[in-house]
Symmetry: C3
């Protein structure tokens, strides 16, 4: 995309507390401090990069208001309360240019079951399928190849990207965003072992996604065996995550890419799971738990814990043990040596 | 979905051995013993929840025939041989209501190559594509956006959910169920390193899925370099699993979510791999092996083993070592102490 | 697929340096040495299978030119410089038969925005969607259900398999191959925590895929927060891989299945990541690094390292520690014994 913002455009968007310096440059890109060229905007989002500000070639830099220093000639500093937030606001503006609100309406190729009401404010893209009994909310946007199963209910202002699937009876509340390829409502993985074969236990519950949830590309959420699989309000789920049947995820959690959560497990609010963490079934992860990437969680976790390792330990303990682990070859040698000396001592102390 | 079963409806489905108590309630939900409300059905599937039966508010409870106790007023106990199985039967009935057998026929939007015969008993949904030479079996159901490649053969009574892909030359036998987004027959990951570049080794084999296999959402199975990648009869594969080229999976295996199986590996019958387990290429996992979640399997595994850890060890050994691992900080201190004492002894025993 | 090659057909394709023996068999399959039957072709790709050649029933065997031995009656040995390469060449020929170059043209059902130019040499399959401003290169092939977002640019001779998604503003250079279900350009996972909620940071960068890259089934690549997520020339990515926003992958890397790479990390050229390896954000993996399967990479890795474990260590060190780890139960016993003896010595050496 071709950005082109003047310094005045940018000030209008980020609304700086104060300004130092000035620039005539048209901003055509955003870059990190050390990668930025003239014509780029940059920002100090993390104090550890403070020393990079002085050498940055960016034409405009967003800085925290307590930053001390002066811009180079032709460079402008914009002081804001929180640079990362100001940047987010700028990106929000760019986003509107990138993905302009689509015109409402139903594409001629969409297949919509008789009796389904699509509000006049909604957008249904090419090759979408909406089955009978489904409900589509106001201002909701279904992009191409989206599938909405029978009796599924999609709330207002949702955005379902290409080939998202919301299967039969599943529910999305308002402002839910599904990235491409998401599957909501695949069958739970449930079988009974009978006479040497795995007999399917029909999975007849659904999935309920609360307000303001976002779900990443190709992530899958299984329907409950019965009752519901739930994702709480404001929770954000990354790509390629697996949410098993009857899982209940609380509000405002962050679930990073490739996490797997086995059936019937509960995550309380504000849980953060690092990438590739794996969670066993039928356990509870307490409020505010943070787990590092690749953590293996096989039992309940107390609220507020910060954990790591597989099976998990408290983060600091796991780190400590990982340091000691590297000293194992040495430890074995030390014990060998002790045994040798001891042997000697035993002999010499023998009567 | 709105369930509405009378006590008599339910008895007709689960066929209890005996009955205690009675209820007028219309059953509108299924719930676990402690979550159930009046109007719900519950069940004792696992003896460890036995004590929850007495306090359960469920209107109907499925119980093993040896359960001793009496229902509350307005509550009914149905004694059955295996409650989880009775529940499965009930869910099976609900499933028929949820997903009624679709009317046979070909949706007007489907694109089917000339010469392809779709039996009159089969259902082909909107926007499906069936390429030339493909074969579709009796009573098979392709939901929306399904892609069947050239010369692929789909057996009888299969159910391919939205946007399943079965690529060129691949074979599904009978009663195979593909959840949404499954890819059968992507290319194997094979390259030759030549003059600093990875040259593609064409992958010209196929994938053969035997009878009664179910495959989870967004799982991918690569076609063989040549010959076949095979999934044996009755095996169940969960979501987001990766099956590499030339892998041969035996019969009645359970492969949990996010497992990865590298090329040319063989799983014998009845293998169970926990979530996120990873399997190296060119090895054999013996009959009945069970691997815990996140296990790393980098060499052959003897039949019947129960394994855990990465790289794997026998389950009990891995558990034992994980306990000792937590004592490493203490062990290092103990060895420090021994060395100090030893130093003292050496000095004092010096002549 | 039904292969049918005469010995002469095969010699014409693999162009042997020399030949021993002869066969009348029509080759109808390719198989490993010990699985091959009469009518199959086999090959010695790895010296460790050398002893299997003599007993192989294959009608034709590709052998390295230094192999010593004679074919059985009715069997032919073809000596070539590199058997695996000769086989690749043969498979390449089979591939042309399997997937003949599709006829150029646009399927009647494709939805292409006004103003988009599709070259006469390109192929656009059924139910493809190409949005406004997108560019499609010469001889590029979009199979069924492919989605190309606004202003996306697809180079020449690309092959996008069923339901690949290339979202708004993303770029594929030439000869890029996307397996089914790939998502290029889903949103990066970026939020600001504000008043108890995760506020979305709009992701307004794109993804750039350089020449000769291949990407596996259902793999997802997130667009940059701003600027670009990059995959370098000749890199090959397997199935179900997650590439986070602003990641830069160098040239000629191999990224095996289910690897996850967190945001803003850089991989230099020729990096090889084994299956299920996980990489933290904001780090650099040096040129030629090789990581074993399931490796956890949480800090920079020096060029040329071979690493293993989570968190990673040098491969040999990790292997050594894994051996010692198994001896921990014994080590604890040895330290117990030392303490007991020491206690005795202390007592006996006490005055």
């Amino acid at each position: 995309m071709q950005l082109a913002f003047s310094a005045a455009d940018i000030a209008a968007i980020v609304q700086p507390v104060s300004v130092k310096g000035s620039t005539d440059a048209t901003v055509r890109g955003i870059a990190s401090l050390n990668a930025a060229q003239a014509g780029d905007l940059s920002f100090l989002g993390n104090p550890k990069y403070k020393t990079e500000v002085a050498a940055s070639a960016a034409s405009i830099i967003l800085l925290p208001s307590d930053y001390e220093g002066d811009p180079a000639p032709g460079q402008q500093f914009l002081f804001v309360e929180k640079p990362s937030l100001a940047l987010a606001r700028l990106c929000g503006r760019i986003e509107q240019l990138l993905w302009p609100k689509p015109a409402p309406g139903i594409h001629a190729t969409a297949v919509i079951a008789p009796g389904v009401h699509v509000p006049g404010t909604a957008t249904v893209g090419p090759f979408c399928v909406i089955e009978e009994g489904a409900v589509i909310g106001e201002r909701t946007h279904l992009q191409a190849h989206v599938f909405i199963g029978r009796n599924a209910r999609i709330g207002a202002e949702c955005w379902l990207m290409p080939r998202a699937v919301v299967a039969t009876e599943c529910v999305l509340k308002d402002r839910v965003r599904l990235q491409p390829g998401v599957v909501v409502g695949s069958d739970g993985f449930g079988y009974e072992f009978l006479q040497g074969r795995h007999e399917k236990v029909p999975q007849v519950g659904n999935v309920v996604i609360e307000n303001d949830v976002e779900i990443g590309a190709n992530t899958t959420l299984d329907r409950a065996r019965f009752s519901r699989t739930v994702v709480g309000e404001g929770t954000k789920i990354d790509n390629l995550v697996m949410v098993g049947h009857n899982v209940v995820i609380g509000r405002h959690c962050l679930i990073c890419a490739q996490v797997g959560i086995s059936g019937s497990t509960t995550l309380e609010d504000y849980v953060v799971l690092g990438g590739q963490a794996g969670v066993a079934g039928h356990i509870t992860i307490g409020k505010g738990v943070k787990a590092d990437g690749q953590t293996g969680i096989n039992s309940d976790v107390a609220p507020g814990s910060f954990i790591k390792g597989s099976p998990f330990l408290p983060y600091n303990m796991e780190q400590r043990i990982n340091v000691l682990r590297k000293k194992l070859p040495d430890l074995f040698k030390r014990v060998d040596a002790l045994e040798t000396v001891m042997e000697g001592l035993k002999k010499s102390s023998a009567p």
